[in-house]
């Protein structure tokens, strides 16, 4: 590795030159590159100050943004002039930020003027049609600034601006500024809180609480008496657990959310309140209370809780039913199995409650636990099957042979009898029949199924009187002529309809079970599972094959690859599906003895396949050709290897190749990671008569060669 001097690695002189000579595209890049590469360099600060007078607004905007945090008090006057004279909003915003950080007291009159108006007599703005929006941003910025500078004399003006019915809503910035002003601001915040209503009052109190909660200590009763739950909630941190008001908060607050918050805060110290909360009229509160019930409980209470939980599992909404399933598992595991199974299977119950039931079943450890989960694998609901698979996989990893066998069968797709593979729904089988379509007589002889199929209602007599012209026509036609195509059109295939299913589905259990089983349990270390996974890599369905290869990848232990896996992986390298090829390549890459096979993937049309091949077996000059790859992931892989080699020639080659390929993002990465590349960039930039395109490339690469520092200096490469 060459040892580069700091002069060779110093891009500042060249960037300053480009800032003087380049066009506006290059100048904006130079400003950002200076900020990225040499932010705290005095030359940068001087250059940025000068750039505030650039004719290009983007250059000025970037320069002012770059000055934030590095400007010195002596620069304040220049920045103030920009705030007044530059019409561009972004320049103004950054200028306010700069001056605030500098604690520039001379800017206060200007800030105060901008607080109340556009101050057009002293401040320039862009096109008047957009002035309103521009000023709103600046007004909020100067309010923040006045707060940070503790300009208490501006408080009346800030309140006046907030009260301007024609102005913008300024509650948040004004209250934040008042809060930053200490006692004097807090007094005004309290005043707002005591005299106003609704959102404004709530916001004032929140601002107050953030600054000094002690200021609210004397206001607890006042807060607790408030109509707004959010305001009452502000009092919670100020009420101790032994306070007499706690019970009232937990049990009697009119807002369920508040009762839940109180329960969570005080419940651990007041189990009797938790028990009482089980009788709350609101299910969310009941669910929260149930979640806090931990054994051992008083026997009578436990009996009561279990009885309630059983009832709620059958009747309550999602939150309480789910909490009940969870509580039953904790409090009465011996009697939980049947009710949990019933809930898990009941398609009329909320799905999240059913999933909670399956999760509960997964925590039971009795002899039939595995069988119950296996039984759920044939459940029509995809999410129920998935949770069951997850718990079965856990059991199999602990050595449960039955669970492993079931998983292997699920992956094989032979768990269900053929006639059970598809769950037929009786129409109109919507699970949530909360609103019957009509309270009148049956309305037609066709129905639409849950998947959007339009099907004939077999219950309608065929000799019924036609209910429409079309119906009349249809009655005269032979039923056999009707083609079965509603479910086969490209837009309405079963597959497509499935994708429209928000919650449950798909109904084709076997294929879905195979796919999910491969994902959830494909890495279970059981021979039967491995056999099933290997078999699945030969399936016709692309999605199943992909899932199988992914499972295979997860199963890998130490190299070399077992023969069967190696065979399937090599087969996968020539799969027509790119996703499979990339997974197969990752499998091959784990075995150093097989890497040669990956060289054939250098020319793969899929970027991720190429990236794997490059990462694992590209060497020497071969790496350089990937500097021009159209996909960043491939270039990144190649560059990573080049830099890791420590080969100066390769790094030079990479620099040249990236410059030729005009790949700014990877070039930036190279400059960040390679001193050689940085030195070459600095040298090139210093070259007289450098073509503008090359200068642009190098400058942009320098600009993105640092991680964003403040969220406002983004990677601007495109």
């Amino acid at each position: 590795m060459l040892d580069h001097t700091s002069a060779q690695l110093d891009p500042v002189p060249a960037l300053l030159h480009q800032l003087e000579t380049g066009n506006d595209v290059i100048r904006t890049g130079a400003v950002r590159a200076l900020t990225a590469q040499a932010r705290h360099d005095g030359r940068t600060r001087v250059a940025l100050l000068a750039a505030l007078l650039d004719e290009d607004p983007d250059v000025r905007g970037d320069a002012m943004a770059g000055l934030v945090g590095i400007a010195r008090p002596g620069d304040a006057e220049t920045i103030r002039r920009s705030l007044m004279g530059d019409p561009v909003r972004e320049v103004k915003q950054a200028a306010v930020d700069c001056l605030t950080r500098l604690k520039d007291l001379a800017a206060i009159p200007l800030f105060r003027a901008l607080l109340l108006s556009r101050a057009e007599e002293t401040v320039a703005w862009e096109d008047e049609n957009d002035v309103w929006d521009d000023w709103l941003d600046i007004q909020a910025a100067v309010i923040d600034a006045l707060g940070q500078l503790t300009v208490t004399s501006a408080i009346p003006d800030m309140l006046a601006a907030r009260d301007d019915e024609f102005g913008q809503t300024l509650d948040i910035p004004v209250f934040r500024a008042l809060a930053a002003m200490g006692t004097e601001g807090a007094v005004w915040l309290l005043s707002v809180a005591q005299t106003e209503v609704g959102l404004a009052r709530k916001r004032a109190l929140e601002a107050l609480a953030k600054v000094d909660p002690a200021l609210l200590a004397d206001q607890v009763d006042y807060l607790l008496a408030d109509d707004l739950a959010e305001v009452r909630q502000l009092a919670l941190p100020l009420v101790q657990a032994d306070d007499a008001r706690v019970a009232d908060l937990v049990l009697n607050d009119p807002e369920p959310g508040m009762r839940v918050a109180a329960l969570r805060r005080y419940g651990a110290d007041a189990p009797d309140l938790v028990a009482q909360a089980l009788s709350d009229p609101n299910e969310t509160v009941q669910a929260a209370a149930l979640g806090m019930m931990q054994p051992p409980l008083d026997p009578a209470l436990e009996q009561s809780v279990v009885t309630k939980a059983l009832a709620w599992m059958s009747l309550a909404g999602a939150a309480l039913a789910g909490a009940s399933a969870d509580a039953l598992t904790r409090l009465a595991p011996a009697m939980a199995a049947d009710p949990l199974m019933a809930l898990a299977r009941d398609t009329a119950r909320p799905l999240d409650a059913r999933m909670a039931a399956v999760a509960g079943l997964g925590r039971l450890t009795d002899a039939a636990a595995t069988e119950r989960l296996i039984a759920l694998l044939r459940n029509e609901t995809q999410q129920v099957r998935t949770v069951a698979l997850f718990h079965l996989a856990g059991l199999a990893r602990q050595g449960d042979a039955a669970a492993a066998e079931a998983l292997a069968m699920a992956i094989d797709g032979v768990l269900l009898l053929p006639d059970q593979a598809v769950v037929a729904h009786a129409h109109p089988a919507a699970p949530d029949l909360v609103a019957p379509k009509a309270d009148t007589a049956p309305r037609g002889h066709l129905l639409i199924t849950r998947d959007g199929e339009i099907i004939e209602d077999e219950g309608t007599p065929t000799d019924a009187v036609a209910q429409s012209t079309l119906g009349s026509i249809q009655q005269g036609m032979a039923k056999t002529e009707a083609p079965d195509m509603a479910e086969d059109t490209p837009e309405e295939t079963a597959l497509k309809r499935r994708k429209r299913r928000a919650i449950e589905g798909p109904e084709t259990v076997a294929d879905d079970l195979r796919q999910v089983a491969l994902g959830v349990a494909g890495d279970v270390p059981a021979p039967t599972v491995e056999e099933a996974v290997l078999l699945a890599t030969t399936l016709d369905a692309d999605s199943l094959r992909l899932a199988a290869y992914r499972a295979l990848l997860k199963r890998l232990g130490t190299a070399p690859l077992p023969a069967l896996i190696q065979e399937r992986a090599l087969a996968g390298l020539s799969d027509p599906q790119a996703a499979i090829r990339s997974v197969a390549a990752q499998i091959i890459a784990t075995d150093p003895t097989q890497l040669e096979a990956l060289t054939a993937c250098f020319g793969d049309e899929d970027a991720l396949v190429r990236a794997v091949a490059v990462e694992h077996c590209a060497k020497g000059d071969v790496l350089l050709r990937f500097m021009a790859d159209p996909v960043r992931a491939v270039r990144h892989a190649a560059l990573h290897k080049i830099v890791a080699t420590g080969d100066d020639d390769l790094e030079r080659g990479a620099f040249d190749a990236l410059l030729t390929a005009e790949r700014i993002d990877t070039l930036g990465e190279a400059l960040q990671r390679s001193k050689i590349a940085m030195a070459l960039a600095c040298a090139q930039l210093s070259t007289p008569d450098l073509p503008p395109r090359v200068a642009h490339l190098l400058i942009e690469a320098l600009a993105v060669a640092r991680v964003p520092q403040d969220g406002g200096r983004d990677d601007l490469s495109a």
């Binding site: 904006t28 102005g167 949530d432 009148t440 429409s468 990144h636 495109a718």
Partner: protein, 891 residues
């Protein structure tokens, strides 16, 4: 047995006399007809009867044709406060404006079918937040989903910067929602990686209008009817804005209005116009500009231009230079008026330029566009030739996407110039504007952080980021997608989809846990590894953005499920009240964004209801075409909420910008740029904003800029793209029966029966050469779909012209293939295939080049090419029960 046939319901209940009546407006097209919702409880069976005193309409049934009849599609049953209620949703027969005749389109007439009822095909509405675990979307609580989204979101912001956080959102889904979404994305996330549903960049859709000084939606609906000559470019209002056509333009045509369509396809509206003496300029795609300028050329060569208008309302040399026409220095668009390519020194300078261009010679333009040159001459005569008595025809010009999405900058510059020359602008019946697509529900809660965009082109301010290209380059680490399909709605959609696959489903970091922290950690690792995480927020699960890519799905509520506000195509503001419960746990978009924002630590999202949001946002409407701040002022003075005040306007609404008179009453604005309007000499009182565009045009001087429209800024692309060998143009657009992506239509049996698949209209000669007949399945494909690569290096303006991009290796050719059912018809131009624009299963946009108009940053969605070959017969070919191959261009 299954059958695809739709049979309507036979009977529905009438509302009883005491049914609640709620005024609202249609959810669909820009016209926004007024509707009434009649609501009464199911419990008790208190339905109305056929006698006048037994029903809410006060009518004896059966009623006369076009009476207060209720169609079966106008009834449904919903939950209201948890209890089943009947709703009947019908056009408001009493409204004075918009659908003043009580008429409805096929879309609005079936509004009741869009509301959620689990016994109808709406049953798959999203009802619960979901998180993808083990590859499966699992229902979770709001807190669970939002906690994950907030923590991962903050991680992306901190580690990868604000531009790694993308927000792609609808622009029209009511002002309460758009205000909240933009406040979150632009004011708090502060990302430049932000745009709306129909564009890769947050830029103006009509740059030429912007430069000329025209607002997109200045005209009133009455203006279209009052024109003597109406030119409609790139749209048939009958197909897409039905009531605007049937209740305004059709009667005008029948009363003698001369109508000129500029379209590559003969539609129903065109057929009606032609039958009544109208004219179709049946150009081939992308050739609007030469034809428009040729019309202008004939007008000026004959001296038919509106000299008085031009003298008074067009910037002359001094005015153009002073303030550069478009305002003070450095405005984002100012460069176009000083660049040298567009700006003129006034009419004479523009005329000189016009006459010097060979493509503006009518015969040359006709050759490029492949039309009968006589039509150009006729159009010019109709638009500008003074009548025998010396008076001028009142001419108006309407444009829409077929026009401005073909050659975005060029076409809009050219039509603006033609509009100015014929005096269209600012007078009754003499206007120029957009017809509109969706309603106008945008309200900005933050300014676009232009300084963070990487799109710096020489000589101009940074342009808004091309979010598609940014994603393609792998910079986007989190995408929050709100109410849009994104993939199918953008150009070159199949290669875009492949990149989504690469960044999401093919990334090694997939969630394999039920534990919240595991999920968060996995998603962070994915973002850190160069992949992308996706939140999708919608009313239905959309494939693929939701069904395949989303890690978190937020269920949204929509029309009728919360109280919202929106404007129509003549800026008419109306309240859309909540009248039923949203399904399950679905929440309005503003609520979802507010909760997420709060969890991310952003302040100011503690609204308790949608009225709070609008009241905060009202101030931000000032100066806009929808300015309704004075409605808020009036409401507060009267002790009402803004929603209450808006509701008082009923279906009549009030047209923005809204001013307050001295006596405190409110006054709407019939048209913008209204040169006939007098405002108080004393200037704006109180909080009124007298925006210049109330009575003048949107420029520094208040006059119009008459600009050049160079064909050569676009022609290199057009020449390269135009069909070769056996290719034809592939373009797309809307049809009357389907709205947008068909998200509601796919759940309406009649529409599914009528349009079960995407289709392609092709000319008989094209069909014959390929052995295709109506009803055949065809493959529409191409292996030369140009897309911009993820890096564009340019320091000179010429670097960004298509030819230079191609030469510099910044254009990649991709492939795409979709299927369609052939409709063979002479209604289309001979070398054109025309498809439905957003059939999500077979999106026509897959064949349109992902090349932005390099001036504006917009896509030209209508410009695709491809080959067509027969695949076989579809089932519709011979059974005559689904689809129809009957000609639509018959009046």
């Amino acid at each position: 047995m299954s059958t695809p046939y739709y049979v309507p319901e036979q009977s529905i209940p009438l509302p009883p006399p005491d049914a609640e009546v709620i005024s609202t407006a249609c959810d669909y097209c820009i016209v926004a007809c007024g509707y009434k919702v009649y609501r009464w409880p199911v419990a008790g069976g208190r339905n109305g009867g056929p006698k006048a005193d037994e029903n809410a309409f006060g009518e004896d049934f059966p009623v006369a044709p076009l009476g207060a009849w209720v169609a079966p599609n106008q009834h449904n049953i919903v939950l209201h406060n948890g209890e089943p209620h009947h709703v009947v949703i019908i056009p408001d027969k009493d409204t004075e404006f918009v659908n003043y005749s009580g008429n409805s389109s096929i879309r609005g007439g079936a509004l009741a079918q869009k509301v959620y009822n689990p016994q109808t095909p709406t049953r798959d509405r999203l009802k619960s937040p979901m998180v993808r675990m083990f590859g499966v979307l699992m229902p979770v609580t709001w807190d669970f989903a939002l906690d994950i989204a907030a923590e991962v979101g903050n991680h992306v912001l901190e580690k990868h910067g604000t531009n790694a956080y993308c927000v792609k959102t609808f622009s029209y889904g009511y002002m309460e929602n758009t205000y909240a979404v933009t406040k979150y994305a632009l004011r708090h996330v502060r990302t430049a990686n932000f745009t709306f549903h129909d564009t890769p960049s947050d830029v103006t859709s009509t740059p030429g209008f912007r430069d000329a000084g025209f607002d997109n939606f200045g005209p009133s609906y009455d203006d279209w009817a009052e024109a003597d000559t109406l030119m409609m470019c790139g749209t048939d209002p009958y197909e897409t804005k039905t009531i605007l056509f049937t209740d305004y333009i059709m009667p005008a045509i029948q009363s003698g209005q001369k109508t000129i369509f500029l379209l590559p396809r003969r539609t129903s509206g065109v057929a009606f116009a032609e039958k009544n003496g109208g004219l179709l300029l049946d150009i081939q795609p992308g050739t609007d500009l030469p034809v428009v300028l040729a019309i202008a050329r004939i007008i000026v060569e004959n001296g038919w231009q509106d000299d008085d208008w031009i003298r008074n309302w067009v910037n002359n040399k001094w005015e153009s230079s002073s303030g550069f026409g478009q305002g003070t220095r450095n405005t984002p668009w100012q460069w176009r008026t000083t660049w040298g390519k567009f700006q003129t020194d006034g009419f004479d300078d523009w005329k000189e330029w016009l006459l010097a261009q060979d493509y503006t010679v009518p015969e040359k333009a006709a050759e490029i566009a492949q039309i009968d040159v006589q039509k150009i001459y006729t159009a010019a005569e109709w638009m500008a030739k003074p009548k025998a008595d010396g008076t001028r025809p009142k001419t108006s010009i309407m444009i829409e996407k077929g026009f401005y999405w073909s050659n975005n900058t060029g076409n809009t510059q050219a039509i603006s110039a033609l509009g100015i020359v014929v005096g269209a602008g600012g007078r009754p019946g003499q206007v120029i504007g957009r017809a509109g697509g969706h309603q106008r529900g945008g309200l900005r809660g933050g300014g676009y952080p232009r300084n963070k965009s990487p799109e710096k082109l020489p000589g101009r301010r940074r342009r808004a980021m091309d979010t598609d290209r940014y994603l393609m380059s792998g910079h986007t680490r989190l995408a929050h997608v709100i109410g849009t399909t994104w993939v199918q709605a953008m150009c070159g959609s199949q290669s875009l989809q492949a990149k989504f696959d690469e960044l999401t489903t093919r990334n090694p970091h997939q969630v394999m846990s039920f534990e919240k922290q595991d999920i968060i950690d996995t998603l962070k690792r994915r973002a850190d590894s160069g992949g992308m995480v996706v939140w999708d927020q919608d009313i239905y699960l959309v494939d693929p953005i939701g069904a395949r890519y989303a890690d978190i799905v937020f269920p949204a509520s929509g029309w009728g499920e919360d109280t919202f506000t929106r404007a129509n195509g003549e800026r008419r503001l109306r309240l859309y009240p909540k009248f039923y419960d949203a399904p399950g746990e679905a929440k309005p978009d503003w609520w979802i964004v507010a909760q997420l924002s709060k969890k991310m630590g952003f302040e100011g999202f503690d609204w308790k209801d949608s009225n709070d949001v609008l009241e905060e946002g009202a101030r931000h409407s000032r100066g806009s075409r929808k300015d309704f701040n004075m409605v808020l002022v009036a409401a507060q003075r009267e002790g009402k909420t803004l929603h209450q005040k808006m509701g008082e306007f009923g279906t009549n609404g009030i047209q923005g910008p809204v001013l307050m008179r001295e006596d405190g009453t409110l006054e709407g604005t019939k048209r913008l740029h209204d040169t006939t309007r007098s405002l108080p000499d004393t200037g704006p009182g109180g909080g009124n904003v007298f925006n210049k565009k109330l009575t003048h045009f949107n420029s520094q001087t208040g006059k119009c800029n008459l600009q050049k429209a160079p064909w050569d800024l676009f022609s290199s692309y057009w020449e390269w793209l135009k069909p070769r060998e056996d290719e034809i143009w592939i373009s797309s657009g809307r049809i009357n029966e389907r709205w947008q992506s068909g998200y509601d239509d796919r759940r309406r049996p009649y529409i599914v029966q009528r349009w079960p698949e995407n289709w392609i209209e092709i000319h008989p000669s094209v069909a014959k050469a390929r052995g295709i007949e109506s009803g055949d399945y065809v493959q529409v494909y191409s292996d030369r779909i140009p897309v911009q690569t993820d890096t564009i290096v340019g320091v000179e303006g010429s670097d960004f012209d298509f030819a230079s991009l191609l030469n510099n290796g910044h254009i990649e050719l991709t492939k795409a293939s979709i299927t369609a059912v052939a409709i063979v018809t002479p209604a289309v131009k001979e070398n054109l295939g025309y498809m439905d624009f957003l059939h999500t299963a077979q999106p026509a946009n897959a064949l349109a080049g992902r090349i932005v108009d390099w001036i504006s940053g917009n896509y030209n969605y209508k410009m695709g090419v491809g080959k067509v070959r027969k695949m076989g017969e579809s089932p519709y070919k011979k059974q005559f029960r689904s689809m129809s191959f009957a000609r639509r261009d018959i009046a």
